[in-house]
């Protein structure tokens, strides 16, 4: 157990060290190409200098690509929402916990990679500068309340640290040979986090109350979902939706046109593609308890459905019901996996 004072260079030395000592086969981390920054899988220690681990960019939730991986062992440098997705997938037996070393840093908020290739965390000043250029944070980050790393192998604190960063870990073995300097977590950090949290919560409340109004009546809900073309992108990009064969790909869920007749009889007419509401409700039921609210679904939706707001409301409600914060702790059991003898009297 230890906390160390480090700087940007130390992070790269850590990653390089992991590869050099053969502790891991490869590292999943953001790195800079000619102009742009992409999520990459690096195996050559020589290329570590191109990495930009703290780059505030989010194109998709990289936990999705770690499902059922066959690596001997691998390190990943991920944002808190991705790390939480990994923890959930470990609990859902989709990722093995013994072949993955998770490193995660505080996240001040991310922007879309197409808006710029920034490799430094977006401090307040940086954000002001970007707003000037008309670039704003991704909507998911404006309402994100879990911007500090969950329970991971190595976590890096950037918020509230005056210079450099603080690295905290339970197991010092990966740090061998780096002879990092011990360091204490500064007092000011909590206040700083508190401040950011207050701002984000207010945004979230606004967004949630607005979507609740839209969902509550049939007419407004139709407005929300009517543009959906069942391209199922949101399912593809969601890290938690891991079924090998989704119900909507089975004969019952994926009706051929002539089979739609049987379904159309019920209401006299059938929207094509069918089952729009049923599809979204099913996604809600299966994913709500583990959703990490990373916003990948909304960004993947070609028809701009307000999916982030929807999930903020739905996942927020379900996780609050079971007092469960998805992905925060490794040992906290999944809500629908356990039960208590006497609980939820109000349901019945």
């Amino acid at each position: 157990m230890g906390s160390y004072k480090i700087n940007k260079g130390d992070i790269q030395r850590l990653l390089e060290n992991l590869l050099k000592r053969g502790l891991v086969e490869g590292i999943l981390v953001q790195s800079k190409g000619e102009k742009d920054i992409f999520t990459t899988l690096i195996t050559d220690p020589g290329l570590i200098n191109t990495t930009a681990p703290l780059a505030p960019l989010f194109s998709s939730n990289s936990a999705k690509y770690l499902r059922n991986n066959g690596f001997k062992n691998i390190a990943v440098f991920v944002k808190p929402c991705e790390a939480r997705a990994i923890n959930e997938l470990i609990k859902l037996n989709q990722i093995r916990s013994d072949n993955i070393l998770v490193i995660s840093a505080d996240c001040h908020g991310t922007i879309d990679p197409k808006d710029g290739a920034i490799s430094e965390p977006l401090t307040k000043a940086k954000r002001k500068e970007l707003e000037g250029k008309g670039i704003s944070l991704r909507k998911a980050c404006t309402v994100c309340e879990h911007f500090t790393p969950p329970e991971v192998d190595i976590s890096i604190m950037t918020i509230g640290i005056d210079e450099g960063y603080i690295l905290v870990t339970d197991n010092d073995e990966p740090l061998e040979g780096l002879d990092l300097e011990k360091g204490e977590v500064p007092k000011g950090r909590d206040a700083e986090i508190e401040k950011m949290l207050k701002e984000r919560s207010e945004n979230k409340e606004k967004m949630v109350s607005e979507i609740r109004r839209k969902l509550s009546s049939v007419g407004s809900l139709t407005e929300v979902l009517k543009n959906c073309i069942r391209c199922d992108n949101c399912r593809e990009m969601c890290p938690i939706c891991y079924c090998k064969e989704c119900y909507f790909e089975t004969p019952l869920g994926d009706l051929k046109t002539d089979e739609m007749l049987y379904q159309a009889v019920i209401k006299g007419a059938l929207r094509v593609p069918p089952d729009i509401l049923f599809y979204h409700l099913t996604r809600n039921m299966h994913v709500a308890s583990s959703c990490v609210e990373c916003g990948a679904c909304e960004e993947a939706c070609p028809r701009d459905l307000p999916l982030l707001a929807l999930w903020k409301a739905i996942a927020g409600d379900v996780q609050a019901l079971f007092k469960y914060a998805s992905g925060m702790k490794g040992d906290e059991p999944l809500p629908l996996a356990g039960f208590k003898e006497s609980e939820l009297e109000e349901v019945k």
Binding site: N284, F322, V347
Partner: protein
């Protein structure tokens, strides 16, 4: 009345709304309770169409969502009293699933159409009361808004 003209019985003669409710009864307790209600000739409204499942925990929430989106006016899940479950803990899991499902449906204004009840094999009278309660509650709520809406 062949299949083609089969009309969903919507309104009864007096024109007030006759809900169509789907029921899932667990074989060991609530189905036996339903049988006992029958044997003791307790009368209750015919609006609930029951399916026998071996345990209330056998009910997949997706069936409930499919029923609601297809226009069923309500769904009842009936199981054994906690502690009585023939499979020891089935009803405990059902309780959590339905709690999560109802919490989600609250946002869509459909939560009040889903009912979870515990009926034991010797509670014939209670079974009749549960069916009556559910039917009246749905009658007050009115028909399922998605019954005729095909847009989504």
């Amino acid at each position: 009345m062949t299949k083609k003209e089969e009309k969903v019985i919507e309104m009864d003669e007096k024109g007030d709304f006759e809900p169509k409710i789907l029921g899932f009864l667990c074989n060991w307790c609530s189905y036996a309770g339903a049988d006992l209600a029958g044997v003791s000739r307790y009368q209750y409204p015919p609006n609930v169409q029951c399916i026998r499942v071996m345990c209330s925990s056998r009910v997949d929430p997706m069936w409930i969502l499919k029923a609601l989106t297809d226009g069923a006016d309500g769904v009842l899940i009936a199981g054994c009293h906690p502690g009585d479950c023939h499979y020891v803990e089935g009803n405990y899991r059902t309780r959590r699933r339905i709690a999560a499902l109802k919490k989600i449906l609250e946002n869509y204004g459909l939560s009040d159409r889903v009912f979870l009840e515990w009926v034991s094999a010797s509670e014939g009278k209670k079974f009749a009361e549960v069916i009556t309660k559910v039917t009246n509650a749905i009658k007050e709520l009115g028909p399922n808004p998605y019954k005729k809406r095909w847009e989504i």
